[in-house]
């Protein structure tokens, strides 16, 4: 086999693919061939590197040069300079990837990666996810072999219990206990399911694992099958993740071809196979019992619990259902031991957690940090703070089930229990950063709008209750808020929390409750002063011209579609609020910065 002197790793995750990494790969291959370098340099399409903001990303080894925002014309320069002549193209290197002497720093030393600890994402951006051999080279399927040859099912559960691994889907139930229940449940047939129906707005951790390291999930599911006594697994993945679906299908076929899935794995009497089930993208199907219904071909509606799936799950048989990221940790725990895993994190939350950083943040992307890292470290040290020097206002964790944490809680170490104590939750790991330009009432309305849309309608509190809450929020944002609205919202929220059927309904009011709790003054400004402090809620805005700055150039008069601006040439103009449509056209055109929103 040929040995390559250099390897070009190009991100093939969804983020970089949509910014054109596919074209880069084609161009690299074309140019390598033209320069007769195809036997020396290898191009590898990998999973996500995490720094999606800077995509498309290309890393070239052995130098470890980290190129960001690469375009097709840049490829010509990289090939001509770096690959032919061995000169790193300084201009394309990602900022922060050079040390003081101008040498390329190791990836791990970059600000973005320095505080990260990649366990679930360890292979993402390192291996070619479409090649099972590369997974095996990085110790893939060794954990499965260890389990099958040396461990009894109870041993696996004991390791997981000792490791302290908790479910990464959001609720944080101890994984070892879940597996124990399923193992102890009697049944002629049992199932292992994987929840890859990642539905929270702004969350893409699971997608990256599936796209970058699909075999890690398959291997862990096989281990789960051996542990609870199951021979069939299902991965429920949303159809909106076409790259993940394609790589999973490929991975399953490759594992079957190697006999790592199928009958008599490693020559033992353990057999296990996995099938994919594609979800149509209903948020409720991320709820475990609704997901099981959907796999069975029923409507995606939650079931009453108990009985829990570990007792009566898929096709009424004992079933374990874990999140993608949970599975991605399992093999590492088996290989490195429970103590290694438990050495990371806080007292009751062990290991690492992947977060999808989004919103008003410089380094949008995927980060994996040990539990107990503070919000400040994630948002400022790794995320690089808010763009354009804006002031940080809040961070939303846990998606539509979570809440907003204000600047005063930035030093909270993140783990399951601290986030709940702060009025939010871990959720699957979406982290949306908001700056001073975000209106918290509007944010609460956005999430509630999402829940109302996605409510399956089975139970009344969620179907009707969330809609009533949304109507009140819409009224407040339209300037028709009344005294007592905040209290009404709180009462409705309490009732929904207490009575909704499934976890999604019970947590739906959280974004409203937490914003009322942390930013009550913004609600009050909307209701009593008919004012939106952040300048977001259109109907509450007033555009005004500062007479001291206005030169009377009449530009605004000409762009106003509603003839709302009047004034003589070279004299200050005025806006008639009754006619103003709040279209922002005048403010964009004014050369003197005389127009502002209030």
């Amino acid at each position: 086999m040929a040995l390559f002197r250099s390897q070009v790793l190009i991100c093939g995750g969804t983020g970089c693919s949509s910014s054109g990494s596919g074209k880069l790969i084609d161009r690299f291959e074309e140019l390598l061939e033209k320069n007769k370098l195809q036997d020396e340099v290898k191009v590898v399409r990998t999973g996500c590197f995490g720094l999606c903001e800077a995509g498309p990303i290309v890393i070239i080894y052995p130098e470890g040069a980290f190129y960001s925002h690469v375009t097709v014309p840049d490829v010509d320069e990289i090939v001509a300079e770096h690959l032919v002549k061995g000169r790193i193209v300084q201009r394309l290197l990602h900022r922060g990837s050079l040390d003081d002497t101008g040498k390329v720093r190791a990836l791990d030393d970059m600000d973005f990666y320095q505080k990260q600890k990649r366990v679930a994402l360890r292979n993402c951006g390192v291996i070619d996810p479409e090649n099972i051999d590369e997974y095996i080279a990085f110790d893939g399927y060794k954990a499965l072999y260890t389990v099958l040859s040396e461990m009894k099912p109870q041993d696996v559960i004991d390791v997981l219990l000792a490791s302290g691994l908790r479910g990464r889907g959001g609720a944080g139930f101890p994984t070892g206990r879940k597996w124990q229940f399923a193992m102890n449940s009697a049944g002629d047939k049992k199932y292992v399911c994987c929840n890859a129906d990642e539905g929270d707005p702004g969350a893409f951790m699971d997608r990256s694992v599936l796209e970058g390291d699909p075999h890690a999930v398959l291997e862990a599911m096989a281990i789960a099958g051996y542990t609870i006594g199951s021979d069939q697994g299902y991965i429920y993945v949303r159809a909106e993740y076409p790259i993940a679906v394609k790589r999973l299908e490929l991975a399953i076929n490759q594992a079957r071809a190697y006999g790592l899935l199928g009958k008599n794995i490693f020559g033992t009497d353990f057999s296990f196979d996995i099938e994919l089930r594609l979800g149509a993208g209903a948020f409720v199907c991320g709820e475990e019992t609704a997901l099981l219904n959907s796999i069975e071909g029923l409507r995606g509606e939650p079931r009453c619990r108990p009985p829990f799936p570990a007792v009566k799950g898929l096709f009424d048989k004992p079933t374990i259902l874990n999140n993608v990221e949970t599975y991605a940790n399992v093999c590492q725990i088996i290989l490195n031991g429970a103590e290694w895993f438990a050495s990371m994190g806080t007292e009751h939350s062990k290991g690492t957690k992947v977060f999808a950083l989004g919103g008003k943040i410089n380094n949008t992307g995927l980060v994996e940090v040990p539990m107990g890292t503070t919000l400040r470290e994630i948002i400022y040290d790794i995320g690089g703070g808010c763009p354009n020097g804006k002031k940080f206002k809040a961070v939303q964790t846990g998606g539509p089930s979570g809440g907003c944490l204000p600047a005063s809680l930035l030093d909270t170490p993140i783990d399951y229990d601290n986030l709940i104590a702060a009025g939010s939750m871990m959720g699957s790991g979406g982290m949306i950063v908001m700056d001073e330009d975000n209106c918290m009432v509007d944010i609460a309305r956005f999430f509630l709008d999402f829940t109302v849309d996605e409510s399956c309608g089975k139970c009344t509190p969620c179907r009707v209750g969330t809609r009533r809450m949304l109507e009140i929020l819409n009224r407040i944002c339209d300037g028709k808020g009344e005294e007592g609205d905040i209290e009404k919202l709180e009462t409705l929220a309490d009732n929904i929390k207490a009575t909704a059927l499934c976890g999604l309904g019970q947590t739906a009011p959280n974004p409203v409750l937490s914003t009322i709790h942390q930013f009550r003054e913004e609600y009050e400004a909307h209701i009593y002063e008919k004012r939106c402090p952040a300048g977001v809620c259109q109907k509450l805005l007033r555009y005004v011209i500062d007479p001291a700055k206005c030169k009377g150039c009449t530009l605004c008069v000409r762009v106003c579609p509603a003839d709302a601006i009047t004034g003589n040439v070279k004299e200050p103009h005025v806006i008639d609020p009754a006619k103003c449509l709040k279209c922002n056209a005048c403010m964009e055109k004014c050369k003197f910065g005389a127009i502002s929103k209030q």
Partner: protein
């Protein structure tokens, strides 16, 4: 796949392919590949190194290229750094010299003095 040996075989086979991406502290062979180096025949030299390293299955060795070292008249120039030893610079390297350099220097850690820059000057 029936045994751990099968798995290990695939792992070993793929390891040298992905080895560049792992952290390792091994020997570095750096070939000067600027215009001067390429004109003097650095490419066949580098391919010879790759070939030799691959044949001997030397997992901790990296073959890399660099720009002009500044002594164009002595190209092709190859620098080899073995961990714990001083860097050695070979000049006017030809593909025929490569097996000996790999055997004596990279594997046995004895630089081939007669090919080095000290001998040429």
């Amino acid at each position: 796949m029936k045994s751990f040996a099968d798995l290990e075989a695939i792992r070993q086979k793929t390891l040298d392919k992905v080895n560049l991406r792992r952290e390792h502290e091994g020997t570095r062979i750096v070939v000067g590949m600027a215009t001067c180096g390429i004109a003097a025949g650095a490419r066949p030299v580098m391919l010879a190194f790759l070939d030799e390293v691959s044949k001997r299955n030397l997992l901790d060795v990296t073959v890399a290229q660099t720009g002009c070292i500044g002594m164009c008249r002595l190209e092709p120039i190859v620098e080899i750094s073995v961990p714990g030893q001083d860097k050695v610079t070979y000049v006017k390297v030809a593909p025929e010299m490569v097996p000996r350099i790999v055997q004596e220097h990279v594997v046995n850690h004895n630089p081939v003095d007669e090919y080095t820059i000290g001998a040429a000057e």
